[in-house]
């Protein structure tokens, strides 16, 4: 099987992989919206959506469990979005109004190209190879560059809606992005300082970061979150702000902006914004997991290669590239799902910040903190590596 796959032309293989990734990411984003409803319901002491079921499916015994989990609501929601009447307000700029949701989805799904979501055991070289669509050296830079394009959609949506609240939402989105992007980038620089040994070949690749957390030794196997907790914290806060999640959901805060930038949007166009938000969350938490939580390594100081070697002792099938890849993806997805859960958990814990608080925190707290953090680690790493 795997031999046949690897014998295919490279371009076809990449196209297949790309489609596979999007085919996984898109429904996952949808499923996340369902999970969000469930988690919020559970936190509020409600069972949440648990009624919808296709009548014929109801005859299958044991399916009540899935019904209680609200699995069918997910499909019902999707169907509803497709079948709803497409209302276009008369006062909007139609071209940009339609463009905005597309601009939201495209960068959100594009960034995934640069994120490795697993590694497989390559027996020929006896090394872990990344599972990634485009294994470039600019990794993280590309992720940041492309994902921040997503904010154009919010500005575009706010502006094209030709109405005050969406416009304010769009303006807020852009201001918030600028404020937090800075701290975010500064907070990850220590990680790359640490990864790139002086004199060696420099790289911004995310795979290299995971490799660096897979090394033997105390510092090698340590996840960056223990090594640089402050960086991880700043990155996390900035990530919440960048993905417009509560408590930073200024662009859509319904308490003061009705629905924010998507007030005038309905049915599938609105759904696309939603998918984009979740895709951003996925990519963002993926990057967080890679940078700070060891990517697809199951435990700190226990790398995936160790796990595979150990499992391979029982059955050699685990050293098969496909199986090892699936294990890696599984571990990574589990971490991702946990991280998404944390997003939801925080959402139902913290009240939304006021807009001026968001700005104050970004510029007066987080930015100086990340600069100080960078200076501290620059000096510390210089001292450690010199000795």
């Amino acid at each position: 099987m795997s031999e046949f796959y690897f014998s295919l032309p490279l371009l076809l293989r990449l196209a297949l992989q790309g489609v596979a990734v999007i085919a996984v990411l898109f429904p996952l984003a949808g499923a996340c919206s369902m999970a969000e409803r469930k988690v919020s319901a559970w936190i509020q002491g409600r069972p949440g959506p648990s009624r919808a079921i296709v009548p014929w499916l109801a005859w299958i015994p044991g399916i009540g469990f899935l019904q209680r989990l609200g699995v069918f609501h997910f499909t019902a929601d999707g169907g509803k979005m497709f079948l709803k009447e497409d209302v276009i307000p008369g006062h909007v700029n139609k071209f940009y109004y339609y463009l905005a949701p597309l601009v939201a989805v495209v960068p959100a799904l594009c960034t995934v190209v640069f994120v490795p979501f697993g590694a497989y055991w390559d027996a020929a070289t006896a090394m872990m190879k990344p599972i990634i669509l485009a294994n470039t050296d600019i990794g993280i830079l590309a992720v940041f560059a492309v994902s921040s394009l997503g904010v154009y959609s919010l500005i575009l949506a706010g502006w094209a809606s030709n109405s005050k609240y969406p416009f304010l939402g769009g303006v807020r989105a852009s201001a918030q992005l600028i404020s937090y992007e800075l701290s975010m980038t500064l907070s990850i620089l220590p990680v790359f300082l640490w990864v790139n040994v002086p004199g060696g070949e420099g790289t911004l690749s995310l795979f290299a970061v995971v490799e660096a957390q897979t090394q033997p030794g105390f510092f090698g196997g340590m996840w960056n979150i223990f090594l640089m907790p402050l960086s991880a914290f700043i990155f996390m806060v900035a990530l919440f702000a960048e993905t417009n999640r509560q408590p930073f959901d200024m662009p859509e805060s319904e308490a003061d902006l009705v629905g924010g930038f998507h007030t005038e949007y309905g049915e599938l166009k609105w759904g696309l914004f939603f998918v984009a938000e979740y895709a951003h969350m996925f990519i963002g938490s993926g990057v967080f997991m890679i940078l700070f939580c060891g990517g697809w390594n199951p435990l700190p100081w226990v790398s995936l290669a160790d796990l595979l070697g150990w499992l391979g002792g029982f059955a050699p099938i685990f050293l098969n590239p496909v199986v090892s890849g699936l294990i890696a993806i599984g571990i990574f997805l589990a971490k991702l799902i946990f991280s998404i859960f944390v997003f939801m958990w925080v959402r139902w814990t913290l009240p939304r910040f006021r807009y001026d608080q968001v700005m104050k925190m970004g510029w007066q707290k987080l930015l100086p903190l990340s600069i100080g953090n960078l200076i501290f680690y620059a000096i510390a790493i210089a001292i450690i590596e010199r000795s």
């Binding site: 559970w42 936190i43 509020q44 002491g45 409600r46 069972p47 958990w345 139902w348 814990t349 913290l350």
Partner: protein, 180 residues
């Protein structure tokens, strides 16, 4: 008057970073996440209804299965939104209930109008109309939302009655005391 000055301590560094508070909050919400759910899942589980609940107005029979309502129309007059329509009727002379003065021929309560104020129950001299514990009314048309006499009796059923007014009246009549 004495004043007590409450000292407001400045926030500590840990408090100003919000982090302990956030973690504490997350602990609380997580507890709620795993706690049993408190929701009453309505159509399957019904809420317990306390006595004295003012639900849908209904007509009730006395324990002998007779209509209590004498179509005095007091409820019709008192009903603030004019939800009640009564057409008074006579009781046939040969009926066993002939000693009951009158009975409504038609009795409609428009549930689209009723505001569940309970005034009809308060005003009824015969205790014939009661607001009982039916709280979920729905229908596909306006007509369906008007409860007619038959429906009102179906909803109302029989309530315990302490007075047995008609029995006493009949006994009095049979004792030759027909002028009351």
């Amino acid at each position: 008057m004495s004043f007590k000055t409450v000292e407001r301590k400045p926030l500590t560094l840990a408090e100003r970073t919000y982090i302990p508070q956030i973690l504490g909050g997350m602990k609380t919400t997580f507890k709620h996440l795993v706690k049993p759910k408190e929701t009453l899942e309505y159509p399957e589980a019904r809420p317990a209804i306390l006595p004295g609940y003012r639900g849908v107005p209904t007509l009730v029979m006395d324990p002998n299965g007779r209509e209590k309502c004498v179509s005095c129309q007091l409820c019709e007059f008192v009903c603030p939104p004019k939800a009640i329509r009564i057409k008074p009727g006579e009781i046939a002379a040969e009926s066993t209930n002939a000693h009951v003065e009158k009975a409504p021929e038609e009795f409609d309560i428009d549930m689209l109008r009723c505001i569940y104020c309970g005034l009809c129950q308060e005003v009824c001299p015969e205790e014939a109309i009661w607001l009982q514990n039916v709280f979920s009314v729905s229908g596909y048309s306006r007509d369906e939302m008007v409860n007619n006499k038959q429906r009102l009796y179906e909803l109302g059923g029989t309530l315990p009655d302490q007075h047995f007014k008609w029995d006493k009246k009949k006994a009095a009549e049979e004792a030759g005391n027909d002028a009351h």
